[in-house]
Symmetry: C2
Subunit: 373 residues, 2 copies
């Protein structure tokens, strides 16, 4: 399977400071596109590994001046490193990949001077719990958003250079202000992480029988609770004010829910002031979740679901999707559900609504056992 | 594809009171197993629909006495209906399917008398947001837990009858006390629902650009926020005390997180008292989520993941799973990820760890583009 390629606009050399997951992946992506890459890292072994993986060449005294510097250090040293790189390379555009932007943007602005025109912040929204160069891959950014955060004094050349970088590694560039970005990630990334961890933390002392009743809802809500504690402590602390704002609003809602529950517990579930606020909470959640974009950034779409019983044997899912594919129907989304104590599973296949009936007919004809819910 | 069948132990007739989603599905399952079913419902149209779907026969004056009565009314009238059915059928075992058990169990115990020996509570953990007889299906309970909640005075005959019922409709019986059950569902079902709705509610007024950064984490955490407000208000209010207990503990954790964030916001992210509590939250969440059972109720297992780039065209997933199946490898779990603005998706295929390397090799040989994260 060959992905379509497009011409590369990034002018090298690109110097990457910090060869962790993001830095090394960036180096691999750029090398794959034929761009010269210089690497540095405080750790000689991380640097050697990135070099050996093919992410670039360790920076040396004789190197040509880089056209673009990407600071891919841990977020707590990003600001200082950006300032140092702006000073060390007076003709280069400098960007950073920290997941929180205001701190770095403010440091560059406070430093003053003409160098600020050469800085534009970035936040490639890519990567996972795994870190370090060994987990790096040139496709890390494929299809992911890459937020471009212009500084107060960023020049057009810098903006173009960073946008080209994002596009050249297969990412989808989107431009936001620093505070706008930090508020956004607080809401759509940091608050969900906190919520997942809060719910999962309640399970630590749960009786085993209680955990035995766990269904797909709990699994969905707590999936990202398996994240790295140190990494997330740094991220949350680095975006503390916006996360605190969002979390305070959530806590106000928690208090309203608690008041309604206490009314129901004391005066019965039909008492005034009990079900009303609870229904409002869930209705508000309905409204919120319907605003999350669908595939490819388009408006949210309601899909139809076809639920199929799957025997637990190799190839079963393969046969199912082979059959769906032969019907010429595209799978928009898929969830597998685990059963408690039974050797079957359920595959919930989401398709466009007009495809539901044809798909059901097709699958039933081929002997699949459908479940209507 | 034929599912294995086992002999049916339930002795009919079974009388089902309330032909909504659960009652009608139960009727369909029992009729499929050859058991005689009598139906009643306060709504003549719901009753007629259940009959027409094949769930049983509307109860009449000339009917033989039922051996087993299943109360499948809305939860707020379950207790009263159970008492009425115990009185109306002095030889029958009576069970109910309300998702909260203490209220009903207490009512039966308070009523006193020999009838209590004939009552055992049930909670089939099946069904979805859709309700009503039209959504019913005989396989609703397949592979799902069916909690059996003995009353204080339940006799052995009643316990056996209800366990047989659960097994005959394909469910996995598990026995818990009423308070134990209500605390369990508060923790593993109700609290996650509240958390998902709380996070989703914050999105109502979010700027569109913020929503454009939404990733898989937000989608996972808020998936169940699309639930029915009225239904959930009734469920939460009916289990108010246990849910309030769990939510209060969560709120205490929220306060600790807020304190750490406020320290970080005021004194910087490296200040004492900021990252420590945040790391502890995520670590506690790690511990909690690792206790959720894996497939088939076994201990949690760590799977390896292979991430594959999928072009957005019909049949692509089918080809992928055909290839996985031909490699003889079982797919343990699957997640599809949506990209922002790109016509590709990612399929994250979970397999047992020993299968990761062979699968990667197999897929690469067949031309699939793997992403390492």
């Amino acid at each position: 399977m060959t992905l379509p390629t497009s011409p590369v606009a990034t002018v090298g050399p690109v110097k990457i400071v910090g060869t962790g997951l993001l830095g090394t992946s960036l180096g691999l992506a750029l090398r794959g596109a034929g761009v010269a890459v210089q690497l540095t890292d405080a750790s000689p072994s991380a640097l050697a590994l990135a070099r050996d993986l093919g992410a670039g060449t360790p920076a040396g005294e004789e190197d040509p001046e880089p056209a673009l510097v990407v600071v891919a250090t841990p977020p707590d040293v990003a600001a200082g490193t950006v300032l140092a790189q702006l000073a060390a390379h007076p003709a280069a555009v400098v960007t950073d990949v920290a997941s929180v932007k205001l701190r770095v943007a403010s440091a560059v602005e406070a430093d003053g001077g003409a160098a600020a025109a050469r800085y534009v912040g970035s936040h490639p929204m890519a990567g996972r719990e795994r870190s370090g160069p060994a987990a790096a891959h040139g496709d890390l950014f494929a299809g992911r958003p890459w937020v471009i955060v212009p500084g107060a004094h960023s020049g057009d050349d810098a903006l173009v250079a960073v946008r080209n970088l994002a596009a050249d590694v297969g990412a989808a560039p989107v431009t936001l202000g620093a505070e706008e970005h930090d508020d956004a990630v607080a809401l759509v990334s940091h608050l969900p992480q906190v919520a997942a961890s809060l719910v999962a933390a309640r399970l630590q002392d749960a009786p085993p029988d209680a955990l035995g009743l766990a269904g797909q809802g709990l699994r969905d809500v707590t999936r990202i609770a398996a994240s790295d504690p140190q990494l997330w402590a740094t991220i949350l602390a680095g975006n503390a004010a916006p996360v605190a704002r969002a979390l305070r609003e959530l806590r106000d809602d928690v208090d309203a829910v608690l008041e309604a529950l206490e009314t129901a517990a004391d005066a019965g579930p039909s008492a005034p002031g009990s079900t009303g606020p609870l229904a409002r909470l869930v209705a508000d959640g309905n409204a919120g979740v319907s605003r999350i974009p669908g595939k490819h950034g388009g408006p949210p779409r309601r899909y139809g679901a076809v639920t199929v019983l799957i025997p637990d044997e190799p190839g079963a899912l393969g046969r199912l999707f082979g059959d769906v594919g032969e019907a010429g129907i595209n799978i928009e989304d898929l969830q597998l559900e685990h059963s408690a104590g039974q050797k079957v599973g359920l595959a919930v296949v989401s398709v466009v609504p007009s495809a539901v009936a044809p798909l059901e007919k097709e699958l039933q004809e081929r002997g699949w056992h459908l479940v209507v819910r």
